[in-house]
Amino acid sequence: MAALATSILASVAFVGAMFLGRSTPLLGSALAVALAAIGVALVSWANDVFPPSIRWENREPLESTSSERTAFMSDFGAPGRFTTRRRLLGGLLAGALVGVVSGLILSLRSLFRGGVEPLLTTSWATGTRLATTDDEPIHVDTLSEGGTITAFPEGKTDAFDSTVILVRVASGALPPDHREGSPEGYIAYSKLCTHAGCPVGLYDPDAGLLTCPCHHSAFQVLDHARPTGGPAGRPLPRLLLSVDDEGFLVAAADFDRPVGPGFWEGTRS
């Protein structure tokens, strides 16, 4: 049986060694069979060639005997000479070690870059044009009602924290407190979910909901992106819009509060 297993192994190992542009499943299967055949050979070798070698053993108690402990203490116990100042010396040594280790750990502060400040601003400012991911400015005629698109500050399509989700609703559907900053029915919110930062990419125009695919937070588009379902606790920050002279959508100001997930100083902007 061991001979059979080793011969399977030999022939299949050759196939496995055929990395002549052969497909991944074939390479994987061949190598797997080669490996498994060695295993089979080992098992049959253990079963057939050797008699069952069961052995009974005693468990010695793990604890040292009292004479062993006495011998240890007599060789390594504290010498009498230093007894009076032992505590002071021990404390000072501990202090010195703590000092060095703390110094080393604190030198890792160079790993910390940024802290809170970058979280409080984005690349948006008054008058910045909205642009698509291909950096094309977005015109008032770009979307039809029910449409949605991801937008960035013009020239900054790599700015993760400035990602915006732009939707267009019917002008008549805008509630009175939403009219300002929503020219022609365009409403813009930060695309970063206030729960865990994933882009809120699912838009249902009939329900007027923006849903996040990560943990299913749902935000009411016509109510300042108030969270109505899921674990998000804060609405998406809104980017108030206006239209410039050429009919392109621009930001009226930066967001009124930090974008993305919450953090300790997040309520102060």
């Binding site: 990395f19 542009g21 052969r22 497909s23 991944t24 390479l27 994987g28 797997a32 490996l35 498994a36 080992l42 098992v43 070798w45 253990a46 050797f50 069952p52 070698s53 052995r55 009974w56 053993e57 005693n58 468990r59 793990l62 890792l108 790993l111 910390f112 870059r113 802290g115 970058p118 979280l119 991911t133 991801t150 790599d158 700015a159 993760f160 990602t163 695309k191 970063l192 729960h195 865990a196 994933c198 990419g201 695919p213 990560c214 943990h215 299913h216 969270p227 379902g229 899921g230 674990p231 998000a232 606790g233 804060r234 997930p261 919450g262 953090f263 300790w264 100083e265 997040g266 309520t267």
Partner: protein
């Protein structure tokens, strides 16, 4: 061979050194192999990992792709992502190695969890093995963290979303959140420093630490000898089993080959983390459904179903994400570490135990274990709330609401049922 062995013996005293060790008895039970399966998965991870390290580029710098995979030519992506595409498609061996590596990571953590469950339910963590239990829990933590760093390195949309979520979790920590987040990610997420930093942890710091801890873990088992079920006259002072050489060693080596064969078969036959389908991590992109690797599912489930419990403390914000992604795992880890001491306190049993419990003879511990497993499994299922929603045609918010109840009631039911069944048909109560 006599000559060569004598040559070595003259230099190391091999015969004297090995004689006692090679005839050491190792208790044999199928469930004792789970730890070995974890070990062998780790070895496969190291070998496949070394191959990947030779071809992976740990850089977040953006380039325009111009490599062998046509559909992505002309797309903007990071160097890291491009290198993963190249090694997956330039030759078929690269994809086999990467998929085997990822499968090995999933199996590695699964084997550790099963091994932990076996040790828990049989009481093998008791005196004198408390420290080894804590070494094991540490290795579980490192394996999970390293798995997360690993699939983050490919820098596709899935990795990016994982980054958003971990970043948000760190940010949510009161007072020090933003500092911790910028320390891990090298600035405001996402930052160019992130991938190189994750790479150092994934390839060097954590694997070396794991290697050392594995050695410590095995050395302790060697010294204290393995535990054994009460059978055939086994007692606190005697054990039996096959000798290390040749029986036990042959079987262990065979298991290594079977485990590596399985992992290579999985890597070759079952696609995993097809990064060319999700696309590179770019601003504004997201895909649906989104799930992490299985061992993080329980945290993601908690993230989904925990209602918005955000509150402000003296004007400072504590987001509810803190409870599901920091407090829950933190408390879980703490309970795991402390369990041997918690149980000893409650049972008053501080004695040495080398003989294992049969789970059916310990109704309280087994019931607690059943409740805990149910809890974490239900959270794991909750992480697929959208999949459940599509399958049952129930809207996802209702599904999540249902899970909020199931996740609390389920473990209570499981624990109570287990306790009643086990305490009902025992003959003798343990003291």
């Amino acid at each position: 061979m006599r000559g060569a062995v004598r040559w070595l013996d003259a230099r190391f005293g091999l015969a004297r050194l090995l004689h006692g060790q090679l005839k050491k008895a190792f208790p044999a039970h199928w469930s004792f192999l789970l730890g070995e399966i974890a070990l062998f998965s780790f070895i496969v991870l190291v070998f496949t990992g070394i191959y990947l390290t030779l071809f992976y580029e740990a850089s977040g710098e953006m380039i325009v792709y111009d490599g062998v995979y046509e559909p992505l030519v002309g797309t903007s992506m990071s160097r890291a992502y491009a290198s993963v595409i190249e090694l997956s498609f330039r030759d078929h061996l690269g994809l086999l190695v990467r998929q085997t590596h990822h499968w090995a990571a999933l199996v590695f953590v699964a084997a550790i969890v099963l091994h932990l469950a076996r040790v828990f339910f049989t009481g093998a963590f008791r005196n004198p093995r408390e420290i080894n239990w804590m070494v094991g829990v540490t290795m579980l933590l490192l394996a999970v963290v390293n798995g997360y760093f690993g699939y983050s390195l490919v820098d596709d949309v899935l990795a990016g979303m994982g980054g958003h979520i971990v970043n948000s979790g760190l940010l949510s920590i009161p007072v020090v959140g933003p500092w911790l987040a910028s320390a891990l990610f090298g600035g405001e997420f996402p930052s160019l420093a992130t991938i190189p930093r994750f790479f150092v942890f994934h390839v060097l710091i954590i694997p070396v630490t794991l290697g050392v801890l594995i050695a410590v873990h095995l050395a302790i088992v060697w010294k204290q000898k393995h535990t054994q079920f009460p059978e055939r006259g086994v007692s606190e002072s005697t054990l039996y089993g096959p000798k290390l050489w040749p029986s036990y060693a042959a079987r262990s080596m065979a298991l290594f080959f079977f485990v590596s064969a399985t992992l290579v078969a999985l890597g070759g036959l079952i696609q995993i983390h097809a990064v060319w389908m999700t696309g590179p991590f770019l601003p504004g992109l997201v895909s649906s459904p989104l799930h992490p690797d299985w061992y993080l599912g329980w945290i993601e489930g908690a993230n989904r179903i925990l209602p918005p419990l955000d509150f402000t403390l003296f004007g400072y914000l504590v987001p509810s994400l803190f409870f599901s992604s920091v407090l829950l795992p933190g408390v879980t880890l703490l309970l795991l570490y402390a369990w041997p001491f918690i149980e000893a306190r409650f049972t008053g049993d501080y004695d040495t135990h080398h003989v294992l419990d049969r789970p059916s003879e310990r109704p309280v511990r087994t019931a607690i274990g059943a409740a805990a497993l149910t809890f974490y499994t239900l959270l794991f299922v909750a992480a697929s709330a959208d999949v459940v929603s599509v399958a049952t045609a129930i809207d996802v918010q209702t599904v999540m609401q249902a899970f909020r109840f199931i996740v609390v009631l389920g473990p209570v039911a499981a624990g109570a049922t287990t306790y009643l069944i086990l305490s009902g048909d025992k003959e003798a109560q343990p003291t």
